[in-house]
Symmetry: C2
């Protein structure tokens, strides 16, 4: 059943004033905005309440939006908001700064998102499974060498190995060809005890060198699999009136500070067409989020990586502004991370791209 135009205007006004003031909104205040008397508004509101879009905290308070009301607002009523010059400039500025590590980038992005939206924010990148493309061994001195591994996702890992005895150059070379023969192209779970044993036999290795390098390889793959997840600005929660109750605040903060919990519940729903997803109150799976809302945006991080950024806040969240900001940041990230896949000159962009892939 379709809502009358005036009902829509009223619902929108209720949602937006409630978002702004955190107080139930009454008929009187709206009369001016809508252009009819408070009594009319009361009738309309009473119907909206019956339809489930509004709620009354108690008999004689104003109305607040129900989750369904927010949902309708988000889906149909709210206007796509544009960012101010200053805001886009701030975001662009932050994003063009070179970030050497994906980890650090996530950190920065989380902080940026949180400070732009005034809500706690998280940022994460999901990686595809990786394998090692090739090994290189650099001999530093008689008993020191560096192992360098190039992964299929084009990250490079390395490790300095310092031995209590000296090794010959040939030994290192042999080790290199052995590893390039046996350990390239294998994924995480394909490095088994027996693979290590057989390589050891082939190397005639009695000093445990193979074991050291193999454990390094496993570390590399494990690290490549782990999705860096950062939470920033958790304390922003405390400035929201709905979290003036320290117990509530504590519960939610615990939840969002624990990245793994957040992570396991959030990407459950695939992002929609436009890359934005809003989950309102009870729509959230996690019990802790039942009266909070989450807005998340996904971005293309290149190399088959898909990343997510999002914010967590009370259901009374400024969806319109948050959505605009997240979209803009996500788009910026996509540009930054995946935008230079086409061959490019040796300009800043290239350097950026490469440095981001660096570890």
């Amino acid at each position: 059943m379709e809502l009358s135009d005036r009902k829509k205007r009223i619902l929108t006004a209720v949602v937006e004033t409630y978002i702004a003031t955190a107080e139930p909104v009454g008929s009187k205040g709206l009369a001016g905005q809508i252009g009819c008397s408070s009594a009319t508004i009361r009738n309309e509101m009473s119907e909206l309440t019956a339809m489930g879009y509004l709620e009354q905290p108690h008999t004689s308070a104003g109305r607040i939006p129900s989750p369904a009301g927010y949902r309708l607002y988000v889906n149909e009523l709210m206007e796509r908001q544009k960012l101010s010059e200053a805001e886009t400039a701030a975001i662009n500025d932050k994003l063009t700064k070179k970030q050497r590590q994906i980890d650090q980038l996530m950190n920065e992005v989380g902080q940026l998102t949180s400070s732009m939206t005034q809500y706690p924010a998280y940022a994460m990148a999901v990686k595809p499974p990786a394998a090692i493309k090739r090994f290189d061994f650099i001999s530093v001195d008689a008993n020191t060498f560096i192992v360098v591994a190039l992964l299929t996702d084009n990250t490079v890992k390395n490790k300095l190995v310092h031995l209590p005895f000296s090794v010959h150059q040939e030994q290192i070379t042999t080790l290199g060809s052995l590893f390039n023969a046996n350990f390239t192209g294998v994924t995480d779970d394909e490095i088994t005890e027996s693979l290590i044993r057989s390589t050891e036999r082939a190397a005639g290795d009695t000093y445990g060198l193979v074991a050291v390098v193999a454990s390094f390889a496993m570390e590399c793959l494990a690290a490549a699999k782990a999705a860096p997840m950062r939470v920033a600005g958790a304390s922003q929660l405390l400035s929201q009136p709905e979290f003036r109750d320290p117990d509530k605040a504590h519960a939610l903060m615990n939840f969002i500070s624990d990245g793994s919990r957040l992570m396991s519940d959030l990407p459950a729903v695939a992002p929609e067409s436009n890359g934005l997803r809003v989950t309102i109150g009870p729509e959230n799976l996690a019990e802790e989020l039942k009266d909070s809302s989450v807005v998340m945006a996904s971005y293309d991080a290149g190399d088959g990586m898909r990343g997510y950024i999002g914010v967590v806040g009370p259901t009374r969240m400024d969806y319109s502004s948050v959505a605009a900001k997240l979209s803009y940041i996500a788009a910026g990230l996509s540009r930054l991370l995946a935008g230079s896949d086409a061959p490019a000159g040796l300009d800043n962009k290239l350097v950026l791209k490469e440095s981001e892939r660096h570890e």
Copy 2:
């Protein structure tokens, strides 16, 4: 002026009950513990108040320790507490897990400290200035190579450079010797525009290769200088009754979440002989910490690195237990990071050491 033995006993009891209950402690409750009547205790407490060791929130409440009282307690009265088997086991267990990156280690340590003490915790490592010891260039394919840099602090950094044109093996080799000649041994601020220019001239480089590698070098040194600082468990604050006021909690959480602020104020005082430092309430420099306390411990991170771990909490902090835990964790860290400098067999310890130095 020295306190009588009984006064000490009373002060100790007041501090410890107040720490446990967060309620002002009255004479009646202490009578049992001390072994004399409440009236006597009242007289003594009244004197302790006059001396500045106790305070009265209002005329008819019990006494709470003043900062000076806590100070005396920390310096002279409190007993060195021993950790339980379970606690030491938990710490050891956490610490013996291999940590690949110093960043990640700080993360883990912060979380460990926070969960052991139930207060927000921070962990950081201060690094000495570093330079690059040597460069290696690994050619991957016609237009891709990897730069590997070994730093004086024995960390290894690398970067994959993908070019839109192909380079000859000789070019790479030349580049290598040039960088090894010009960019080794130089620190952060010694990489100047003119050094880059002159290297470019020497290389006859028109494609900006030198610039790319030079900026990589600068990034390495910058990263080596940055002290990783992690804050964990900030939400623990909210479980303390003194932070039930959301505004207070917010203010302090903002402060401690911002690592840089915390960092700039904390290490101002050099750690004392035993590596433990307690700053109580107004002793703190930062305005935000004026009614909180900070306990920090320093540890030897090897290679001239000195690290700090600490917790932040209300002045009513369980100093005794926190001090014991921090000491133990710091000692463990020292052992982990600096303990294997002596030549060691190819055992776990070696692997640990090497992997920790890995980047």
